[in-house]
Amino acid sequence: MEGSVAYENDLNLKATELRLGLPGTDEREEQSVSNVRNKKRPLQDADEEFGANGKSDAQNETAPPAKAQIVGWPPIRSYRKNNFQPKKSESDGPGIYVKVSMDGAPYLRKIDLKVYTGYAELLQALENMFKFTIGEYSEREGYKGSDYAPTYEDKDGDWMLVGDVPWDMFVTSCKRLRIMKGSEARGLGGGV
């Protein structure tokens, strides 16, 4: 490859060069994806031999050669990349189990908050679990239109209305859930 001469003498491109295959194999087949593309071209390796395995510095930065990430590859829109959700069955780490009590129910339940991706899903699950209907949420008035209001105890020990804070903040601060019923519920929604 014509460019190889330039590689040797010039700003060390080979440390950021893509190479496939095992070290020491023929140059043509040797192009390996071994580096994360650095933003700067490293100058400190300028003396490295081209033929020798140019991956020694790379290996400190990356895992097995073939699966290193190149900037902007594969060419998928970042919006799409950022929105990839792994399937639920592969979620890593333990679940976030919290107790759920409902006024008037004989026993409590437990749910895993990690399973849900937002309030809509959570509230639906609660409705299914306890066979009731939650009203319509608005920032001003809380849950209108039913006798029930979902509340939770946060890290400070205060009882909060479900839905006020962003979902991720809720998941990390929720210690337990309580579905309030009757006048107590309406009081919470109607006030300040």
Binding site: A6, P74, P75, R77
Partner: protein, 572 residues
């Protein structure tokens, strides 16, 4: 040359709607130029830096619909720093000051601020349609301004934008008097919305034809909406999860049965596979199905669904469909024209990926195929040659092998012959993206055969300057060329500098061109803007002409160098 009075010519020009044709009309003579410019209502600007807002306004006083594109295509893949440019603000300010009655604005890859959106919403009484694709810089507050102030809003279409979501209240900003909505797409918003407000909005929008919901909208709201809007033609579901034995799900099934007009379906951002049977009744008439955000749908449930979609013309899917699943598509979807297969795991080993086999099956079964985007695990020359024979009608052919320099999986040869067959067979090919192990030979083929090619994307390919030269010399209709990580240098860049004036833009990153080469080009071609884009953390520009340029973006322009370039962009 005028045999007809102006009004007659104007009437004739009314029938000419394509931008290319209208541009040609304006070049015939002075009087046609004048008539055309006063009657022009729709303008398309493919590079917002090629012209200035003032000149646009001066030439087309009757402007009603404007399309603007900002950042170069590779910005989609994080190759362009965020503050590079593409700001909407100067355009809105200039248009607001003028007497232009803007009704429609379509933007792609632009930086849009809340202030711009607010100014937009307050400046044009008849504003009807806002389409934002891959834009950034705004929050739901800006969207709220549009909802609140655009009294005759018909279309609000947000596609794949990065929006800072301040949660919920923008939907409630549509006033009760707003009943004109035809199209609403907020699938890319991440936050909660007021479900009651959404339902009420749907109820008072009898013309609503297109509705794409976000993840925060649960299935029971979907059911309520469909009951009130059975006329909908294009539907994007939000969260599609429920207990299939529930009352709500039953109601949803009957709601779908009443929706006889749905032709386009997308969403399923969260999906319970067992709930898909509710959709079967509308599958028979579907022409567009987008399941590319639904990794939860695969295997039997997915193929069962596809088997109901016999009239499908466009299918966007994840590679977890597998080669066998593509076989089902091939035997079911005989009307298929466009197929996009996205990777479900961009970085991983791709156990669920597709290979050349799936593509061959598709080409054999779907002979009307003309547009392809295919992310795959591997490819072979034999497969590409077969595909070229089966499908000579490709207009767009974009192949991405996840491992960027992978050779033919069977013969270990470069994929030159395979792509060569594609360009030779598909005489109408306008857009091509290459990947895999490729030498200069593939570019020889492209230069020889790809006569209609307008856009070419190259990565990790070629051996020498000859490759790039074959393309520049051969492809007469080339408009956009984007190259990354190829051994093309100054000799190729500078051989025919006049060529770049016939193109919209050229992008070269991680190639062999040097600063000196770029400077020479900029000197010879004052009608081009040659930008050197450094990474933001590297503030010093080395003045050594022999230094290789990391990223170069050049484009033709009528208005000289832009003035809003950030520090890390050097315009030569």
């Amino acid at each position: 040359m005028n045999y007809f009075p102006d009004e007659v010519l104007e009437h004739v020009f009314d029938f000419i709607s394509s931008h290319k044709d209208r541009n040609s009309v304006s070049l015939v003579c002075k009087s046609w130029y004048k008539i055309e410019r006063f009657s022009r209502q729709r303008v398309f600007i493919g590079n917002c830096y090629s012209i200035s807002p003032d000149r646009l306004i001066a030439r087309f006083p009757g402007l009603k619909s404007l399309t603007l594109k900002g950042k170069p295509h590779f910005a989609d893949f994080n190759l362009v720093p965020h503050d590079w440019g593409g700001f909407l603000d100067p355009w809105i300010r200039a248009l607001a000051k003028s007497r232009i009655g803007l009704e429609e604005l379509r933007l792609k890859r632009m930086v849009v601020s809340d202030e711009s959106l607010e100014l937009l919403s307050k400046s044009f009484l008849n504003f009807k349609s806002l389409v934002l694709v891959s834009c950034e810089g705004f929050t739901t507050d800006g969207i709220a301004a549009i909802a609140a102030n655009c009294r005759f809003l018909r279309e609000l279409d947000l596609q794949e934008n990065e929006v800072d979501d301040h949660r919920g209240h923008w939907l409630s900003c549509f006033p009760e008097s707003c009943t004109s909505l035809v199209s609403l797409n907020f699938a890319c918003l991440k936050g909660e919305i007021n479900l009651g407000a959404l339902e009420r909005l749907v109820v008072r929008s009898p013309n609503l034809k297109s509705l794409r919901l976000n993840r925060a909208v649960p299935l029971d709201t979907l059911q309520k909406i469909l009951m009130r809007a059975p006329q909908v033609v294009d539907l994007g579901t939000g969260s599609y999860v429920h207990d299939p034995s529930s009352e709500v799900y039953n109601k949803l099934k009957s709601a779908f049965q009443r929706c006889k007009s749905i032709r386009s379906l997308s969403g399923f951002l969260e999906v319970a596979p067992r709930c898909m049977s509710a959709i079967y009744p509308i599958c028979t008439n579907l022409t567009f199905l987008n399941l590319s955000y639904a990794p939860g749908l695969h295997g039997n449930e997915l193929t069962k669904l596809i088997q109901h979609c016999r009239k499908l013309q466009r299918l966007w899917i994840l590679d977890c469909i597998g080669d066998k699943g593509l076989g089902v598509v091939a035997s079911t979807c005989k009307e298929l024209q466009e197929l996009r297969v996205f990777p479900s795991d961009p970085y991983g080993a791709g156990n669920a990926a597709v290979t050349e086999e799936g593509l061959v099956l598709i080409s054999a079964g779907c002979t009307k195929l003309n547009s392809l985007l295919y992310f795959c695990q591997q490819m072979t020359n034999a497969a590409l040659i077969t595909v070229a024979k089966n499908c000579p009608n490709f207009i767009r052919f974009r192949l991405c092998i996840l491992d960027p320099i992978k050779p033919d999986a069977v013969t270990n040869q470069p994929l030159d012959e395979g792509f060569g067959a594609i360009v030779q067979s598909c005489k109408g090919l306008k857009r091509l993206s290459l990947s895999g192990l490729l030498t200069d030979q593939v570019f020889l083929y492209i230069g020889m055969y790809a006569e209609q090619l307008e856009m070419l994307s190259i990565a990790f390919a070629g051996d020498s300057d000859k490759g790039m030269l074959y393309v520049l010399n051969g492809c007469k209709k080339l408009r956009k060329l984007e190259i990354r990580d190829c051994p093309f240098g100054n000799a190729a860049l500078l051989e025919d500098v006049g060529k770049y004036e016939t193109m919209r833009s050229l992008w070269m990153s991680s190639c062999e061109v040097t600063l000196g080469g770029c400077k020479t080009l900029a000197e010879k071609m004052p009608s081009l803007s040659v930008e050197i884009i450094n990474d933001t953390d590297q503030m010093e520009f080395s003045l050594d002409d022999r230094q290789k340029v990391e990223k170069m973006y050049l484009y033709r322009t009528l208005v000289g160098h832009r003035e809003d370039a950030p520090e890390f962009v050097w315009i030569l």
